[in-house]
């Protein structure tokens, strides 16, 4: 029997994770993280989600605590998210939350408290390979979350459990129904937890940084008009570029915040042969050679090759990756590393 701390968001995956850990005979304690004090929808830390997590813990007859990581969340997730937009980058706050809050602050506290493992409801697997522990895709392709966990090293993984990684989402829900867990039918959380559907990203960011009007030009430099907030434009974006009739086939292909300029072009103009990367995290040692590459949380993979300087060379020209986005490398189901597009 091990002592396991289960991070319970209030959703069905973490509820089932706690149930499974208990079923396996572990000494299980639940914890919900209070991360964001501002308004929010059903994110991962609203009071109603804490209520759901607590009720599930009561059902499972396990202890449940709430840890307040509000200041850490603001420092490591919200502020960098705002700063990234100010710099014209496309950040992924879920990854920063995993990196700094769940798998750093929480895990290190769990160690101090004498827990053997921390379990979460992520759809991902931890595989034993001849070169040590590796992160792998969850068995449910549609729900796989290995992309947002790419920063986990073998050492991190030795302290972690992802009990639902071996299950499909429908199996998770079925098990939750079977056990009568109250979150069995709760919808999956969507989008960024600290931005509400009603307020939206624009309003959130405009409260926190100055948004600037920008010129929209085509690839030849011809003036096409202006847009309200250059900080909110992402490479590949089609909507909201104020282009009237041609909007359907026109994409933002380059965003230049300091010069307040957005270049738009055709799908062809959006293609690129290579992605420049920085801040690599490797599962083992740096890898050179062919890999499958994923550039968004639920995006498809594309074939590429890691070069000696750590960039991705696409096999077939690929849509540009917005600077700030995470790029994760796979061989089969195994994550071999990841980095940030620059």
């Amino acid at each position: 029997m091990s002592r396991v701390l289960v991070a319970m968001s209030g959703g069905v995956d973490s509820a089932v994770s706690a149930a499974l850990m208990k079923e396996q005979g572990h000494d299980v304690t639940g914890v919900t993280l209070k991360l964001w004090g501002g308004p929010q929808d059903q994110g991962c830390c609203s009071v109603s989600d804490v209520d759901d997590a607590r009720r599930v813990a009561q059902q499972l007859d396990i202890d449940h605590f709430v840890f307040n990581y509000g200041e850490e969340f603001d420092r490591h997730v919200v502020s960098p998210y705002v700063d990234a937009h100010a710099a014209g980058l496309t950040p992924n706050p879920c990854i920063e939350c995993n990196r700094h809050i769940k798998f750093d602050a929480l895990v290190s506290r769990a160690k101090k408290l004498g827990f053997d493992f921390v379990a979460t409801g992520h759809h991902a697997r931890i595989m034993e390979t001849d070169r040590g522990l590796r992160l792998a895709r969850g068995v449910d392709d549609d729900k796989d979350q290995s992309y947002v966990l790419y920063m986990l090293t073998a050492q991190d993984l030795s302290m972690l459990r992802f009990p639902v990684g071996e299950m499909t989402k429908s199996e998770v829900r079925e098990l939750a129904h079977h056990q009568g867990l109250r979150s069995a039918a709760k919808p999956d959380s969507q989008d960024v937890c600290f931005i509400t559907a009603s307020e939206g990203r624009t309003s959130f960011l405009s409260d926190r940084l100055d948004l600037h009007t920008a010129d929209v030009v085509d690839v030849e430099g011809n003036d096409l008009g202006t847009i309200d907030a250059v900080e909110l434009v992402t490479i590949g974006q089609r909507r909201g570029l104020n282009l009237g009739g041609n909007a359907d086939r026109t994409y933002a292909v380059h965003v230049d915040v300091p010069s307040r300029r957005v270049v738009v072009g055709s799908a062809q103009d959006l293609l690129s042969e290579q992605v420049q990367l920085a801040d690599h995290v490797w599962a083992d040692k740096p890898y050179i050679g062919p890999v499958q590459v994923q550039i968004s949380a639920h995006g498809n993979q594309a074939a590429g090759s890691l070069t000696a300087n750590g960039n991705v060379q696409w096999v077939d020209a690929h849509r540009k990756v917005a600077p700030g986005q995470a790029v994760v490398f796979y061989i089969d189901d195994l994550v071999i590393g990841g980095a940030t597009a620059i």
Binding site: T32, K34, C45, V66, F67, R109, K111, K112, L113, G114
Partner: protein
């Protein structure tokens, strides 16, 4: 010693709540069973409830230094605080309080063009600052007699003196929710125009409290209805709760002096043992300036949120700063107001004693707390 074989948990969180005293439970029980009549009614069964309330009202009034008509029974401390502040501030009224008040005072004050008064590094109200914010526009000044987090005692006479000089029209309210356990309340609150109490902090159940209001003070009711409590607080009387409140206050009055000596000794034992055993551990308020049974310590390089989890595993129930609605710990606004760095304040621990506290609990805590701290520090 983890999850040691204890008959019951070591409970050092009496400032959060206390168990009902058995004698209080006995006193209230008939009013939960046979004497259930609505005290506002006209028949015999109503009258028996009414008589119990009248008795309790007299007991409370006498023991608090007020008259029977000056007692307004409420649902607890938060309602009393809200009634005191909202009830005497009109639309343009200005309310004043120290930054270290409980949120049940702080938020109502802020809603009335609130002016907040700073405190010194040892938690005392900054009287010069108070003097500076008081003027003829101020309707009410609210100052807690004993702080719920730090245990700091405030000299209300000194506050009243400044009020008299700088804003004689302003009413003085005190939240005495903690103080009633630790001070000669009649004397300590003699200058207060209004005073809030909450039953569950001294052996009565949750859901009952009172606001004592001097006769010359008109409070505008915040809950309208049947006109109970002389039109100051409507709603069917909580007869059993009111009876319990009177009985608990009676017990408290009879035992206060000896309990202050007993629990003060235990608290001192905790303070000296913990500060000696744990490097980087200190009291936020010194013994002479705090309530006998509320000890707040700060432990450097320790997060109290983690410490509390570990302490629970060792059978010790305590708390840190105030909890928010989700159950998470919020950073202490009291320690922040006292000028303590947030990172230091994050290591605060409140050990509060009460009528139910026994010697062995303190001895257990004196053993357990340093070991838990060592574990947290050792693993970092």
């Amino acid at each position: 010693m983890e999850t040691a074989k204890l008959d019951r948990p070591v409970y050092l969180d009496c400032a959060a709540s206390t168990p009902i005293r058995p004698v209080v439970l006995d006193a209230m029980m008939p009013y939960l069973t046979e004497h259930f009549g609505n005290p506002s009614g006209g028949h015999r069964m109503a009258r028996s409830s009414r008589a119990a309330i009248d008795d309790a009202r007299e007991v409370c009034a006498t023991l608090l230094g007020f008259g029977p008509h000056e007692i307004v029974f409420t649902s607890g401390g938060t309602e009393s605080d809200n009634l005191a502040i909202h009830g005497v501030c009109n639309l343009n009224g200005i309310a004043v309080c120290p930054e270290t008040e409980h949120h049940a005072v702080l938020y109502p004050v802020e809603s009335h063009n609130g002016r907040l008064v700073g405190v010194t590094s040892n938690g005392d109200i900054d009287l010069e600052h108070l003097e500076a914010v008081l003027d003829e526009d101020v309707s009410v000044v609210s100052v807690m007699l004993v702080n719920n987090e730090s245990g700091r005692i405030i000299d209300l006479d000194a506050v009243a003196e400044v009020r008299d000089r700088c804003a004689p029209q302003a009413l003085l309210h005190t939240d005495a929710v903690q103080a009633v356990n630790w001070l000669d309340i009649v004397n300590a609150a003699r200058r207060a125009d209004m005073m809030s109490l909450s039953g569950h902090k001294f052996g009565a159940p949750k859901g009952i409290g009172l606001l004592a209001v001097r006769n010359q003070v008109a409070v505008v009711p915040q809950i309208l209805g049947g006109g109970q409590e002389a039109e100051r607080r409507s709603g069917t009387h909580n007869t059993a709760g009111i009876v319990a409140l009177g009985a608990a206050l009676q017990c408290l009055d009879e035992s206060r002096e000896s309990e202050i000596a007993r629990l003060g000794g235990l608290s001192e034992r905790l303070a000296s043992a913990l500060t000696a055993a744990i490097p980087g551990c200190f009291e936020t308020i010194s013994q002479s300036e705090r309530a006998a049974g509320i000890l707040q310590i700060v432990i450097e390089d320790v997060e109290s949120e983690a410490l509390l989890v570990l302490l629970e595993r060792h059978g010790v129930m305590a708390s840190a700063a105030a909890s928010c609605a989700s159950g998470a710990m919020d950073p202490s606004h009291v320690l922040a107001a006292m000028g303590m760095e947030r990172t230091v304040a994050a290591g605060s621990l409140r050990l509060s004693l009460g009528w139910c506290t026994e010697d062995w609990e303190v001895e257990h805590a004196v053993e357990a707390i340093p070991r838990c701290v060592e574990q947290l520090r050792g693993a970092s």
